[in-house]
Amino acid sequence: MSVVNSHTEAVEPNLIDYDALLSTFSWNEAYKDFDGLPNGGGLNIAHEAIDRHAAGLLKDHVAIRWIRKDRAAKDFTYHDLYELSNRFANVISRLGVGKGDTVFTLTGRIPELYVTAFGTLKRTAIFCPLFSVFGPQPIYERLSRGEAKILVTTLDLFTKKIKPVIERLPALQYVLITDTESHADKKVLSLPLLMAKESSTFTIPPTQKEDPALLHFTSGTTGMPKGALHVHGAVLTHMITGKLVLDFHPDDIYWCTADPGWVTGTSYGIIAPLVNGVTNIVDEAEFDAARWYSILQDHKINIWYTAPTAIRRLMRMNIDPAKQYNLEHLRLILSVGEPLHADAVHWGEDTFGVPILDNWWQTETGGIMISNYRNMPVRPGSMGKPLPGIEAAIAEISADSLSIITEPEKSGQLVLKRGWPSMFKTYLHEEERYQKCFRGEWYVTGDLARRDKEGYYWFVGRADDIIKTSGHMVGPFEVESTLMEHPAVAEAAVIGKPEPTIGEMVKAFVVLKPGNAPGEQLEMDIIAHGRKKLGPAVAPKEIDFVDSLPKTRSGKILRRLLKARELGLQEGDLSTLEQP
C-alpha cells in the first residue's frame, strides 16, 4: 500500500501537458527568459545563476546550505555567493588567468568548490572539477590534458595526490590551498589570504553563448579520458530541465547527492538549482543511510536527485522511513547514473508516496535528455520520454552511415539530433574523436536502447566496453595501462562485472610475466598497486589470473568475450578471434 504524500498534490507541476509542449517548444524562444549580461554583454552562466538573483528579490535568499561532516549547517545567500565569486574572479585575474584558461578543483564538497566554479565562469575561464577520490594517476592525466593553469585544492589532497605529480605539470602555474593561512611558496598559495585582499566587486566581461565554460572528463573504451567541453549557452538546458524535470518552484529546497567531480554534480548540483533560484543543499559527508534520511527530514527537502547505487543501499534498510522520519515536504525523487530497475521505482512509491523518476543523459549531453516527468504516467524501468526540444531516435549504425529504426520495440543505438544548447562542442584537443561521435545531424550516444509503442525509451546496454560503476564511467584502457605498470603484469584486460549494489564492479584479467606465480599475495599486491595509482573509484576490486587474453587477429583484446565468459553467456561471433 502506498503512503499518502499530501505535499505532492499541493504543488502543480510546471509541465502539465507533455505532448502539447513537445510540439511548441523552441530553444530560441526559451533563451528569452534570460536577463543576459548588462548592456547586451551576452550570456554568462554565473550571471544567470548568481548575479541576477543577488541584484533582485532573491538577494537574501539562501542559495547554498552547506552541511558539514559534523552536521553543522552554514547558509550562503545569493548575495554572499555574488561577493565571494567576485573575489575569486579577482584573485585569478591577478594571477594572470584569462579567457579560455582552465581552472580545476580537487576538493570534497566544500564551499570553495562552488565559489571557484562561479568565479571562474565570471572570468570567462573554463571550470573543471575533479573527483577527489581519484588517485594521483587519473588526476595527473586530467590536469595534464586539460592544461590546468590553476588548481584549487585542500592541503591534505595536495600533499597526497598533487605533490607526487606536480613536476610533470608544466602548465600548472598556481595551486590555491583552501585551508592554509599562509603561502607555502611562489606557486602554492593560501586561497583565504588571496581572497581577503581582493575586492568583492567584479564586472563580468562580455561572454558569448558559444564561449567555453565547463570541462568534464569522461572515459572512452580506447585511449585516455576525453575532455568534453561545454559552453555558457548550456545554462539554457540547465534552466529548462530544472523547470520541466526537477520541477523547481520558488522556495523549493533541493538536494542533489552527486559529487561535482561528475557531470551530474555540476549541472544539477551547482548550476540548475541556482539558475532557477532555489535553495541547494550540499552535504560534505559520504553516503550514510541514516544521515541521509535525517537530512531529508531536518532540511525539509522538497526535491531529491540521487542515484540507483544509493537507492539500493537505502532499500537494504530494515526501517520504514516514512514512519521513522517526517518526510512530508518531499514531493519529487529523481535518479540518474544507470538504469533504475522497476523494483526501485515501486519501492519509492510504497515508501515515499511518489515513484522515483528515472532519467537519462551523459557527460557529452551536458543535461537531462530523456526523462520521466511528474505529470506523466511512469513506466517502471523505463528512462522515460525525450525532453521537449530534444529529438531522440533508435538507429542502426555503421562506420559512416546511420539509418533510423522507426519500428517500435527494436533495439539499436540511441541517437540525438544535434543542436541542443548543452551539447558538448568538442573533446579537448581531440577533434577527430569528437567528429566520430556524429553521423550527419545525429549524435551517437554509445548506449543501446529501444522505444516502445507509446514513445518511452528503455535502456538495453552499452555498445562499447565502458564500465559503469556506482554511476561513473570507467574506461578499461586507463585501468589496463596502470595495471601493466606493475612489474609482474604482462597483459591486462578490464571488464565491468555485474554487481547488485554498484551496477558493475571493475574486474581485471591479468596475464603474469614469466617467473611470477599466481597467488593471493600477488593478487593483493596488484590490487594495492591499482588503488594507489587510480584510487578506489577506478581501480579493480577483483583480479583473475589467466594464461592468455582473447584477442582479434589484429591484436585487439576481446573484452566482450571475457565478459560473456564471466557471466556464463553465449560467446557470440568469434570469427575474428585469434585463437578460438
Binding site: 577520490v133 543501499r313 549494489t501
Partner: protein, 81 residues
Amino acid sequence: MTEDEIRPIINKLLKKVAPETEPEKLKPDDNIQQTLAMDSFDYLQFIIGMDEEFGIKTPEEDYGRIMTLRDLLGYVMKIKK
C-alpha cells in the same frame, strides 16, 4: 571477545579490501573510510566481511555509527559480549 582479539581481525579485513593501506596505524577516532581512502562500496564490503567473520548482521542503518575504530570496536564488543 576483547578489543585485543577483535582488532587484528578488523585489520586483516580492512587490508583485504584495501591492501595498499596500513590499518594497524589507525588511531581510535580516525574516520576509517576517510583515513584509508576507501569508497562507500569498499566500506560496505568490509562490513559484510566483518559480519561473516563475527557471525553478526550489521543493519545498514547502523553503518554511520561505526565509522571510527573506537565506535566499531565498541559495537562489536557489545554484540559479542
